[in-house]
Symmetry: C2
Subunit: 309 residues, 2 copies
């Protein structure tokens, strides 16, 4: 089984109340690939970088079963760079620098060796590029998952985003984006509307408040793990998505019941991610670490009520 | 088994984005009593009202096994009146009117017939009054639960609040209050500090984001039920506390495992409360309604993961 993802591979510089980094490796596809690599046998990345990128990072990914054939290296160009500063509550941040660089001319080309990927995870990029990826695949993967953000819900992009939404199975957005996309404040009402617009499953991410999974008339809620410190939230959503898709890929089961499990595994991966800067914490996990963390989630929510009627 | 509660019995006038009410019956002890009455055989109220109060309301409570002997009626005086307006997100509100009236001279006196109450739930009032209630009881109840708010965390009241905290078992506050009381932003750190200051159990209420229960090194999370409409959140916290204490009273079990169940029942009661104005929705529930709602909570969070090691 294999997972195909398209998204940024980039440099970030991050400042949080706990410290700051120089340029470190980031980007949605980086977090997705590290996270999914604990589950999927093969993770196929489509992305673009400049020749300033640290090629040892690609080698590290390859050692974990990540295929980087689809990462185009633009000679003489710079990689995408983002810099941001988190506020004390870690729920909001200011973007300090966005240098699109190679992203400006990104034209994703899917290598033939990726064609039979079982799951497609469209990382958060321009919906025009996401559509190009979908259109290049000779057959629809077993599951298509779309991550996007409010930036693509403006008049200039929303039309293409809505076209992409018709081609996917699972949409993953945050609570503010669900409200914006649907025009409904109630997340239950928002979900009902959005589930009529393409996706059969909707994941609403609420950060420290957990995540909701909607499907038909069913709803599942997974909490976030209460942590002593959230050191750096960068990439937590991508790490969640990577773990979610990786788990489904590994288990070969796209039922609602299995998606619940996948959300718990995705949440467990995200809970590691925020413990250190960047992707550092999700580079050296063991199978045991992950199972222990999933057990924390089970302990957090399990209760034993026998209904009387 | 019986539950003793002290708190306001009052009039409210409420405005939400969905409508507004004239004076309706409210007050923490009213919500607590209605909610607990579905579980406790006997609910004992200590409160104070003016002779303007609707005495039929007291009769309605008595019909549900609520003992109103401890509600003092001040002749020629007016009942406590609160008026507020909720913002669109329902998480914040403006207080329009607070007429303390009889509350200004409230001096709680516990009838002897209440002395053997098994559980004491101190509703959100001046900690000086809460202490008077504790001191009047000849023996400590099996469980003492304290509800309070940021209003009592100011320099004028915090000293007495800290004294009360030394006499209780369970503290129930919201997330902002837990942060204020502890000086810690992380709720995990806040809980660790607060659990060294008296209470053995800490419930942190997060409104639409659920509730956390902390005890020693354990933590339990209960979600709020995602609802299509939150019609009026007034009294939801009191209804939660009443259901929580009532369930523990009925089940005669103050273990951590049983408190988890009690939090689910409390959350279920709160989810009814917000569906209509004031206490209207929690006046005519059936046992079946409550069990059905608890089943919704089970369905919302249950997942089935078999850990591999």
């Amino acid at each position: 089984m294999s997972l195909l993802t398209v998204g940024t591979v980039a440099f970030d510089a991050i400042e949080t109340p706990f410290g700051k980094t120089d340029k470190i490796v980031g980007g949605a596809a980086t977090y997705i690939a590290w996270s999914a690599s604990y589950f999927s046998k093969k993770v196929n990345i489509v992305s673009v970088i400049g020749d300033d990128f640290d090629m040892a990072e690609l080698e590290a990914l390859r050692k974990r079963g990540v295929d980087t054939t689809g990462i185009e290296i633009k000679e003489g160009k710079k990689s995408f760079f983002w810099s941001g500063k988190y506020h004390l509550d870690m729920n909001s941040r200011d973007t300090l620098i966005t240098d699109l660089n190679v992203l400006l001319e990104f034209n994703p080309v899917i290598p033939e060796s990726y064609y039979d990927s079982d799951i497609l995870l469209l990382g958060n990029i321009d919906p025009n590029l996401q559509m190009k990826v979908i259109e290049q695949l000779p057959k629809k993967p077993k599951l298509v998952v779309l991550d996007t953000m409010n930036y693509w819900m403006t008049p200039a992009s929303i039309g293409k985003l809505r076209e992409v939404m018709l081609k996917i199975d699972v949409l993953a957005i945050n609570d503010a984006e669900a409200r914006e996309l649907s025009g409904e404040y109630s997340l239950v009402k928002a979900a009902k509307k959005i589930l009529k617009q393409g996706p059969k499953y909707l994941i609403i991410k609420k950060g420290e408040h957990g995540a909701l999974l909607f499907h038909e008339n069913e709803v599942f809620f997974a909490p976030a793990l209460p942590l002593e410190e959230v050191f750096d939230p960068t990439g937590a959503g991508d790490t969640f998505a990577g773990g979610f898709c990786g788990y489904i890929d590994k288990s070969r089961d796209i039922s609602f019941e299995n998606m619940k499990r996948a959300i718990i595994y995705g949440s467990a991966m995200a809970s590691f991610c925020v413990e250190k800067f960047g992707a550092e914490r999700i580079r050296n996990l063991t199978h045991h670490d992950i199972e222990d963390r999933v057990k924390d989630f089970i302990d957090l929510v399990q209760f034993d009520i026998v209904l009387e009627d």
